[in-house]
């Protein structure tokens, strides 16, 4: 497989609270496990998925459609896990509970 190929997928923010600070932190930690360059896009504005400050600039509320792109040797795994995490509502219950168990 060509390492330069860039993978794209579209996801929707599911949780009621949207992409707030805690999910953004978890998303950065998840993305940082991969070598791939991962970007998140909203309305043609793309930001680095490994930067919490950048993710927060999206202000992605519940129902927002986000594009995910990944490029690099482990792009396929990266895009699978990132999109699954977003689609799972960032495992965000809206209550203060334990941290994302996989991390």
């Amino acid at each position: 497989m060509n390492n330069d190929a860039s993978l794209h997928r579209t996801v929707v923010v599911r949780n009621a609270e949207g992409l707030h600070a805690r999910p953004a932190d978890l998303l950065v930690r998840l993305a940082s496990r991969y070598q791939a360059t991962i970007q998140i896009g909203k309305n043609n504005e793309w930001v680095d998925c490994k930067s919490i400050l950048s993710l927060l600039t999206l202000g992605a509320a519940q129902g927002t459609e986000l594009s995910v792109s990944a490029q690099g040797p482990d792009a396929a795994e990266a895009i699978d896990s990132i999109t699954a995490f977003v689609e799972a509502g960032f495992n965000d219950t809206g209550e203060i509970r334990g941290a994302y168990p996989a991390i």
């Binding site: 009621a16 805690r22 927060l56 600039t57 509320a61």
Partner: protein, 159 residues
């Protein structure tokens, strides 16, 4: 959303005295109390719920910035303030850096959208190095207020 929509001018604190995470949070909540934005009998509960949120993971999001926050049923609208620490405070930040800029937010439980838009505004402005640097150098609450006003007037970021 603009800073003017959620930052209480009277609660802005330049030259924070506190040297620890707990003390900074208490100092800023106290500032909101003195500005009349929160109820005196809710002060301790608000402080403890902000601390509980910090236990989940620091809100020190890097670049010397932290956004300690909580939802609280005692507020009717999003309220917030800004504090600047010249020496910086160890806040267990994600990037390990000491925190100089604090944006403390308290939001009503049923208004997640307002909280998100406040975070969006803060993070967009803080991406601008000039804004960040000027804010860290602010010596008075009036300086901070003027910077926030200039940011609201889009003098730092284009998009």
């Amino acid at each position: 959303m603009k800073f003017a929509d959620f930052i209480t001018t009277k609660a802005i604190r330049a030259e924070l005295k506190s040297q620890t995470k707990d003390a900074v949070i208490e100092e800023l909540v106290q500032a909101l109390l003195e500005a009349g934005e929160i109820d005196a009998d809710q002060r301790d509960d608000i402080i403890s719920s902000i601390m509980k949120r910090e236990e989940l993971g620091s809100t020190g999001i890097g670049r010397g910035v932290a956004v300690p926050h909580t939802k609280h049923p005692s507020v009717q609208k999003l309220v917030g303030t800004v504090g600047v620490s010249e020496s910086g405070v160890d806040f267990d930040s994600l990037d390990g850096e000491r925190v100089q800029l604090f944006f403390l937010l308290i939001s009503p439980p049923e208004r997640p959208g307002d909280h998100l838009r406040a975070l969006e505004n803060i993070s967009r402005q803080l991406r601008d190095d000039t804004f960040c640097r000027f804010l860290k150098q602010s010596k008075t609450a009036v300086d901070i207020q003027q910077l926030l006003q200039e940011a609201d007037d889009n003098q730092f970021v284009s998009g």
